[in-house]
C-alpha cells in the first residue's frame, strides 16, 4: 500500500477548511495535493463536498409556507398581558 502523507480522515478535514476559504498552507498543502494524486476516494469526496456546499447554500432550511401561525392566540395573549400591565 502506498504511504500517504496524511490520513484520509485528516485530508477530509483539510478539504472542509479549503472549501471554507481556509486552504492549508506550506507542507500541509503539499501533503494534501500528494494525497489527491494517490487517493481517488478523497478526490471524489472533495468534488462531492463542494456540491453539498452548494446545496446547503441554495436550499432553504424550512419551507416558509409552514408558517401558518395561530395569530388569534397571540393577540389574546398580548391583550391579556397589556391588561395586567
Amino acid at each position: 500500500m502506498k504511504k500517504l502523507q496524511v490520513s484520509c480522515e485528516k485530508a477530509t478535514v483539510l478539504i472542509e477548511q479549503q472549501l471554507s476559504g481556509l486552504p492549508p498552507k506550506g507542507m500541509r498543502q503539499i501533503r494534501l495535493a500528494l494525497h489527491y494524486k494517490i487517493c481517488s476516494g478523497c478526490l471524489h469526496y472533495y468534488r462531492q463536498s463542494k456540491l453539498i456546499d452548494t446545496l446547503l447554500k441554495e436550499t432553504p432550511t424550512e419551507s416558509q409556507s409552514e408558517a401558518a401561525f395561530n395569530k388569534e392566540k397571540l393577540l389574546l395573549r398580548i391583550r391579556d398581558l397589556m391588561d395586567k400591565k
Binding site: L4, S7, L55, L56, E58, P60, Q64, F69, L75
Partner: protein, 189 residues
C-alpha cells in the same frame, strides 16, 4: 403640557403590530430554527419582551425594526442554548478505520451528475432536505449559521461559544453524513 402624541404604545397598537408582523416574524423564526413550535414560542416571547419594555420604544423608530431586533436576539439565545443542551442523535461515525483511512465500504465513489440539473430536480432536493433533517439538532445551529447566514467560523465559534476544533469537527461530521445519505438514497440507487 399635552404634546398631542403618546410616548408609549397601548394595547391596540401592540395588537396591530402582531396583526401586521407576526406572520413574517414566524416565517423568519422557522427559517432560523427549523421548527414551527420553537418559532411560535420565540415570537410569543418577543411580544412578551416588547410589552415588558414598551417604555424603551420610541415612536420615531419603526416598530417592525424594533420587534425584529428583539426576535433576532431570541434566535441567537436559542441557538446558543440548543447547542449546549441538545443531545446528539446517533449518526454514522464509522467512515474511517483505526489508521484514519476510508473503510472499504465508505470510500467515496464517483457520482455521475450534472450539477445544474440536480438543483432543478424536486425529488433530489426533497431527498437532500430529508438528509439534512436527519442531522443531529445540535449541529443544525452551526450548519445554519454557516450556510444560510454566511457567518465566518470565528463569528460562529463566538456566537455558540464553541472551540475552533469543535466547529471543524461538526462541519466535517455533518458533511460526511450528508454525503453518505445522498450516496445511499440517490446516487447508489
Amino acid at each position: 403640557m399635552e404634546s398631542g402624541r403618546k410616548d408609549i404604545p397601548d394595547t391596540l397598537e401592540v395588537s396591530k403590530w402582531a396583526e401586521d408582523f407576526a406572520d413574517g416574524m414566524i416565517s423568519h423564526a422557522i427559517y432560523n430554527t427549523r421548527s414551527k413550535e420553537i418559532a411560535e414560542d420565540l415570537v410569543q416571547e418577543t411580544f412578551l419582551s416588547a410589552i415588558k419594555n414598551l417604555e424603551q420604544f420610541r415612536f420615531e423608530s419603526q416598530p417592525k425594526t424594533w420587534l425584529y431586533s428583539i426576535l433576532n436576539n431570541k434566535i441567537k439565545d436559542y441557538h446558543r442554548s440548543a447547542f449546549k443542551t441538545k443531545t446528539s442523535l446517533p449518526v454514522s461515525d464509522s467512515f474511517f478505520s483505526n489508521d484514519g483511512h476510508w473503510e472499504d465500504s465508505e470510500t467515496p465513489m464517483k457520482w455521475e451528475i450534472q450539477e445544474e440539473n440536480l438543483l432543478d430536480d424536486a425529488t433530489f432536493i426533497n431527498i437532500f432536505t430529508l438528509c439534512k433533517k436527519k442531522l443531529p439538532e445540535k449541529w443544525f445551529s452551526v450548519i445554519h449559521l454557516k450556510y444560510q447566514e454566511n457567518r465566518s467560523p470565528t463569528e460562529i465559534c463566538q456566537e455558540l461559544e464553541i472551540s475552533s476544533s469543535n466547529y471543524w469537527q461538526i462541519i466535517h461530521r455533518a458533511k460526511l453524513n450528508l454525503r453518505k445519505c445522498l450516496d445511499t438514497h440517490w446516487f447508489s440507487k
